[in-house]
Amino acid sequence: MLDQLLSHWNYIIVVLLMMIGLFIVISSMNLVKKLIGLSLFQTSVFLFYISLGKIEGGTAPIIITSGHGDHGSYPSHDILYSNPLPHVLILTAIVVGVATTALGLSLVLRIKASFNSIEEDEILAEKRVMKSEGRSS
């Protein structure tokens, strides 16, 4: 059992990061910290996919050609590559993650300008005041 766990240590790290990230999102009062937690959470997923793609004994997934330039190069056989697809997926996901974080941070800026605070409890308190007074700004 311990053997199994240790040989899959990267998945354990994935789960740890995932849980830490989620916990930060849920429990943190500071909006920027929530975004950090979200980032952590998303990073764990990246690690997950990359771990999936690694093949034992595989090399980087760039085609190695043999033969010289003039005779035409062709891909060598008998070379084990790691799976490139997860890398592609993760690049996409990283971009999405960057966009999310950028959007989130710009929202935090606007919230700070409007509410004068980026602590969730203070913002909620102000919201409650607004609701009871029937205001909208």
């Binding site: 959470f41 997950f48 966009a99 999310t100 929202l107 509410f115 909208s136």
Partner: protein
């Protein structure tokens, strides 16, 4: 040139996305026209695609290979009956919502921002269309995020007018991102077990490995992620504040089409991707979705009754309506799936109309949507208010409106499945929903107004789209066979009867 019909699936998605960039870059005054053109273009294209689908592909699954790469390595756009129905709903309602959006934005967003707002608008619209058409599980995530991030932006644009929109948008962003990431985790597990990302290929390969736990983990993550996006109880808490504080035009668009696309994805994931695994979809539907949908129905209705703000009231009502759709799906039968699709189409028309109407009414009374502020508007703005009323009556299921057809089919499906207690809950909640609608009606027509009794100006670009939807509600309440038959076709496809 002749082959552009073949490329329609891509055109439908790419057109709004391209025009989005153009709209964001050009001066703000072009924004609305560009949005109208793009949404109209996509709507027309989807109608043409529909006819092409029925003729050239004989009603079976239309498959479009992006970039010419064949699936399962290339990304595929797949159109069958279910997809076609949802595409028509999204594009049609997107167009009507765009029609009214300029007038509705007038109060809440400064005209300088309109170019960028319409950029985000079209990104949402195009993203949703792509979401529905794609047959690649990861591509689905990409479109999920395109539409979600763009809608977060749209919601946040309301921050200048109502700063609670900002915090609502932030929560929407966080919860939405978590949901999407859950979905990606699920896809990862499925990919690990089968090596493919194409939904139809997954459907073939997953049953071969279905004795292994990662498949179920993948299912759990994927379904949970989609449930977050579709605002199914208990992952729905982002929806009421977002819809309630966003600019009225944004609420119209989102309420009408955004969650519908995610609901469709939910049933796709369950029935198509995991459909090959014996009774697994049925189990999930029965033991997970039905109880959650009932909670949504009851909670949404009851919270709507206690709301003092009309916009929030309708947003809570949407939670309940989403519950009805999921309940229909949860029956797991042809009749149940049919009922779910019928309500996807009908509710889009209902809520779209109600928010446009509410927007028109609220604008006349200084933009407020609290119930007290709406006193007497029914008498003072008869065109707009009557259109709103028709959509409201459709919401509670008055016969001769589309909402009644939804209720009828849903109740029939539930009775057929033998769940008498669930029928009681559905009918009880229907009766309860009359309470909050009636409160609106009483305030609007039978309460003395706060500021005199004269007629208030009514804008054509608000009540014209509103009446299009109101008349559509009546039309599809009387001659419902178009929607019911298309929904039946959709249900058949998902239950595995066709293709």
């Amino acid at each position: 040139m002749i082959d552009w019909i073949k490329h329609l699936p891509a055109i439908i998605v790419v057109l709004p996305l391209l025009v989005a960039v153009i709209a964001a870059l050009l001066p703000a005054r072009f924004g609305w026209v560009l949005a109208l053109l793009a949404t109209a273009g996509s709507s027309l294209a989807s109608v043409v695609m529909m006819t092409d689908f029925m003729t050239r592909w004989a009603g079976f699954r239309m498959s479009y290979h992006l970039g010419g790469w064949a699936p399962p390595w290339g990304i595929e756009f797949s159109v069958d009956h279910a997809t076609a129905l949802v595409i028509m709903v999204i594009s049609g309602l997107g167009f009507v919502a765009t029609m009214s959006s300029k007038s509705l934005f007038a109060n809440e967003i400064s005209s300088d921002d309109l170019g960028r707002v319409y950029g985000a608008w079209l990104l949402t619209f195009g993203g949703l269309l792509g979401l529905v058409m794609t047959a690649d599980a990861f591509n689905l995530f990409v479109f999920f995020e395109i539409s979600s991030l763009a809608s977060v932006t749209l919601v946040a644009m309301g921050g200048g007018y109502d700063k609670r929109a900002l915090i609502a948008a932030f929560n929407y962003l966080i919860i939405g991102a978590i949901g999407a990431t859950f979905y990606v985790i699920g896809v990862g597990f499925c990919y690990a077990m089968t090596g493919t990302l194409n939904m139809l290929d997954l459907a073939v390969r997953l049953p071969e490995v279905n004795d292994q736990i990662p498949v179920y983990i993948g299912l759990a993550f994927m379904v949970t992620g989609v449930m977050v996006k579709a605002a199914i109880f208990p992952m729905h808490f982002w929806l009421p504040p977002s819809y309630g504080h966003a600019p009225m035009a944004v609420t119209t668009l989102l309420a009408a089409v955004a969650t519908k696309a995610s609901l469709y994805i939910l049933v796709r994931v369950l029935m198509t991707i995991f459909g090959g695994i014996d009774t697994l979809p049925q189990l999930i539907l029965q033991w997970v979705l039905i109880p959650l949908s009932l909670m949504a129905i009851l909670l949404g209705t009851i919270l709507a009754i206690y709301e003092r703000d009309a916009k929030l009231m309708l947003a809570q009502s949407s939670i309940a309506q989403i519950g009805y759709i999921v309940l229909g799906f949860g029956m797991g039968s042809l009749a149940g799936l049919q009922a779910g699709f019928i309500h996807i189409a009908n509710h889009a028309m209902i809520k779209g109309g109600m928010f446009i109407g509410l927007g028109g009414l609220a604008m006349a009374v200084a933009g407020k949507t609290k119930l007290n502020d709406l006193a007497g508007v029914g008498r003072r703005m008869p065109f707009t208010a009557t259109g709103f009323l028709i959509c409201g009556l459709s919401l509670i299921g008055l016969p001769l409106t589309a909402g009644f057809i939804s209720k009828l089919y849903l109740i029939t499906a539930v009775i057929e499945a033998g769940y008498w207690q669930i029928v009681a809950i559905v009918l009880f909640s229907s009766a309860l929903s009359v309470i909050y609608l009636w409160r609106l009606i009483e305030v609007m027509w039978f309460t003395p107004s706060n500021s005199g009794d004269g007629r208030l100006p009514e804008q054509v670009m608000i009540y014209a789209p509103l009446w299009i939807l109101a008349l559509a509600n009546i039309w599809f309440g009387i001659s419902a066979s178009t929607i019911t038959e298309m929904s039946y076709g959709a249900a058949q496809v998902l239950m595995g009867g066709m293709t």
